[in-house]
C-alpha cells in the first residue's frame, strides 16, 4: 500500500479518536458507541442542519454558498446556519489550532462528507447507490479514494443524504410559496390541491434517479437505516401539512400525517414501475388517493354532525317526555 493511503486512513482514525475523547455534551460517546448510533445522530444532524438552514434561508433573499467556514463552538447554530447550509452544530474537532479557532482553509468532517456525497450523486445513475459512486464522487473533488473510509454506512449515507437534500429543497420551496401567499402575491390553494402539488414536487426530485430508486428504497428499509429514514419521512410529512395550514392539536394531527404518509409511500411505489410519458399515471393515481382522503374526511365530519344532531334530538325528546 502507498504511504499516502496509510497516512490518510491514520489521520481520519486519529480525528475520530480525538472527537471521541473530547467528551462534548451528549455526543461525547460517539466514538465509543456503535457506529449505527453515531450515524443515526450524524445523519439526522445533517438533515436537521439542512432544514434549519433552509428555514432561515427562506427569510433571506440570497442563499449563500454552502461551504463557508465554521466558527467556534460558542456561536449559536442559528446565526451561523444563516451562512452555511451544512454546518455542524457540534463543536469542531478537526484541524483546530492553538486558540481552538478554525483557520480559514479547513472545514469540518461533516462538511467534507456532505461535499463528497453531493458529488457522488452524479455517479449514481451509472454505478448505483453504493461505495463506487461515493468513490467516484470523492475523486471528482480531487480526494483519494481512501477518503471514503469515513463512510461507515456507505450506500445508506448516500441515500439518506439525498433524501435530506430533497426534503430541504421541498421545505424551502413550500416556505417561499407560503411567503408569497402571506404577501398577497399568490392565491392560497385548497388543501387537496396543495397536498397534491407538494407530493408531486417532492416525487419529481426522484426522476433523475428513478431507475436506481428501487435499490435506494431497499437500502432505506435496512434495519440500521430505518430510524433515520422514518425520521426524514415524518419530518417531511409534518412540513407539508404545516404549510398546508394544519394547526390541529388533537388526534387529527396523527390521522392526517398517517394518511399523507400512506399516500406518499404508495405513490412512490407506483412511480418506480410507471412507464407512461412524464409519469402521467403516477400523478393520476396521486390525484385519486388525495380525493379519497378528502372524501373520507368530509364524510367523517358529516357523520359527526349527524350524530350530534341525533343526540340533541334524543335529549330534547327525553326532556319533553320528563315534563309530561
Amino acid at each position: 500500500a502507498s504511504p499516502l493511503w496509510l497516512d490518510m486512513a491514520a489521520l481520519i482514525r486519529g480525528l475520530r479518536a480525538g472527537r471521541a475523547l473530547r467528551g462534548l455534551g451528549g455526543v461525547a460517546v460517539q466514538g465509543t458507541r456503535s457506529t449505527q448510533c453515531s450515524n443515526v445522530r450524524r445523519g439526522f444532524h445533517r438533515a436537521a442542519l439542512l432544514r434549519l438552514a433552509s428555514d432561515s434561508k427562506s427569510d433571506t433573499s440570497v442563499p449563500p454558498p454552502s461551504y463557508h467556514e465554521v466558527h467556534t463552538a460558542g456561536e449559536s447554530s442559528s446565526s451561523s446556519a444563516q451562512g452555511e447550509s451544512s454546518e455542524d452544530a457540534q463543536p469542531n474537532t478537526s484541524f483546530q489550532d492553538q486558540s481552538g479557532e478554525h483557520s480559514e482553509d479547513y472545514e469540518t468532517e461533516e462538511q467534507l462528507q456532505v461535499r463528497i456525497l453531493t458529488a457522488a450523486l452524479e455517479f449514481v445513475p451509472q454505478h448505483g447507490w453504493n461505495m463506487e459512486a461515493i468513490t467516484a464522487g470523492a475523486e471528482t473533488l480531487g480526494l483519494s479514494s481512501a477518503s471514503t473510509g469515513m463512510f461507515n454506512n456507505g450506500a445508506g449515507d448516500l441515500v439518506l443524504h439525498f433524501v435530506a437534500q430533497c426534503n430541504a429543497q421541498l421545505t424551502e420551496t413550500l416556505a417561499e410559496q407560503n411567503n408569497q401567499v402571506q404577501l398577497g402575491q399568490a392565491e392560497s390553494k385548497k388543501t387537496g390541491e396543495f397536498l397534491k402539488d407538494a407530493v408531486e414536487m417532492r416525487l419529481r426530485m426522484l426522476v433523475p434517479y428513478i431507475d436506481t430508486w428501487p435499490q435506494a428504497m431497499s437500502i432505506l428499509l435496512l434495519p440500521h437505516n430505518i430510524p433515520d429514514s422514518l425520521k426524514h419521512l415524518s419530518t417531511m410529512v409534518d412540513d407539508i401539512w404545516y404549510y398546508a395550514g394544519d394547526r390541529s392539536t388533537d388526534v387529527n394531527w396523527y390521522t392526517r400525517r398517517a394518511a399523507l404518509t400512506g399516500i406518499y409511500n404508495t405513490t412512490e411505489l407506483v412511480m418506480v414501475q410507471d412507464s407512461s410519458p412524464d409519469f402521467e399515471e403516477t400523478w393520476a393515481f396521486l390525484d385519486n388517493r388525495i380525493k379519497d382522503v378528502v372524501n373520507m374526511a368530509n364524510t367523517a365530519k358529516q357523520v359527526q354532525a349527524t350524530g350530534e344532531a341525533v343526540v340533541q334530538g334524543l335529549m330534547g325528546a327525553a326532556i319533553t317526555k320528563e315534563i309530561y
Binding site: S78, G245, R247, D250, V251
Partner: protein, 223 residues
C-alpha cells in the same frame, strides 16, 4: 416593520378563529432568526435540537393537562350542572377553556406534536369528573382540589426548570405558566372553601387522584 405587523396580524387572526386549519399562520417558523417576531411569540427560536425537544415535551404535557382538566369539569357539569354548584363549576371550567385555547395556539404556532393519548385523557377525565360529582358537591370539590394541587405542583416544577436554565430567554413562557399556575391555585383554594375535605375518604380519594395525575404527566411527556 412590516414583518412585525404581519406577525401581530397573524396572531390576532389565529385568536379570532378556531386555530385548526387556518391557512394564514404560516411563516412564524421554528428557526426565525428575525428579532421582530420574537416579541409576539411565547417561545424563543430554538437554538438546538435538545432545547426544542425539552420545550416540546413541556408544552405537550401542559396541553394534555389543560385538556384533561377541561374534560374533568365537563364531567362534573354533566352531573352537577343543574344544582347550586353549577355556576361555580362553570366559572372554573371557563377559565380552563381559556387555558386550553392558549395552549392550542402555542402548539400550532410552534409545531409541537400533541400527545397521542388525548382520546384516553378525554374519556378518563370525563369519567373522573362525573364519578366524583356523583359523590355530591363535596366529592366534586375534592376532585378539583386534588387535580389542581397536582397541576400547580407540576407548573411549579416547570417554572423551576426554566428559571434554572435561563430566565431571561424564557420570560414570556415563564409569565404564561405563572399566570396559569396562579389560576389553578385559585381553583384549589375555591375547592377547599366549598367543603372539599368533608367528603368521606377524602385522603384516600385525594391520594388516588394525585397518583393518577402523576402517571398521566409522566406518560404525556413522552408519548
Amino acid at each position: 416593520m412590516q414583518r412585525a405587523a404581519k406577525c401581530a396580524l397573524r396572531l390576532d387572526i389565529s385568536r379570532a378563529f378556531c386555530p385548526s386549519n387556518v391557512r394564514n399562520c404560516g411563516a412564524v417558523n421554528r428557526v426565525n432568526g428575525s428579532v421582530s417576531c420574537r416579541r409576539y411569540s411565547v417561545l424563543p427560536p430554538p437554538r438546538d435540537e435538545e432545547e426544542k425537544a425539552m420545550l416540546d415535551s413541556m408544552l405537550r404535557v401542559d396541553h394534555a393537562g389543560e385538556y384533561g382538566a377541561n374534560r374533568i369539569y365537563a364531567g362534573q357539569m354533566a352531573v352537577l350542572g343543574r344544582t347550586q354548584t353549577g355556576p361555580l363549576i362553570q366559572h372554573m371550567w371557563d377559565q380552563e377553556k381559556m387555558h386550553l385555547e392558549r395552549f392550542n395556539e402555542i402548539l400550532g404556532e410552534h409545531r409541537v406534536r400533541p400527545t397521542l393519548l388525548l382520546p384516553l385523557w378525554n374519556i378518563a377525565g370525563f369519567a373522573l369528573g362525573a364519578c366524583t360529582a356523583l359523590l355530591g358537591k363535596e366529592g366534586a370539590m375534592a376532585c378539583t382540589v386534588a387535580v389542581e394541587e397536582s397541576i400547580s405542583e407540576h407548573y411549579n416544577s416547570q417554572i423551576r426548570t426554566l428559571m434554572e436554565a435561563d430566565p431571561e430567554r424564557y420570560t414570556e413562557l415563564l409569565q404564561l405558566i405563572k399566570e396559569f399556575r396562579d389560576d389553578e391555585i385559585e381553583h384549589h383554594d375555591t375547592g377547599l372553601e366549598h367543603d372539599a375535605e368533608s367528603v368521606p375518604g377524602y385522603l384516600l380519594l385525594k391520594t388516588a387522584i394525585q397518583a393518577g395525575c402523576k402517571a398521566a404527566i409522566y406518560i404525556s411527556q413522552r408519548i
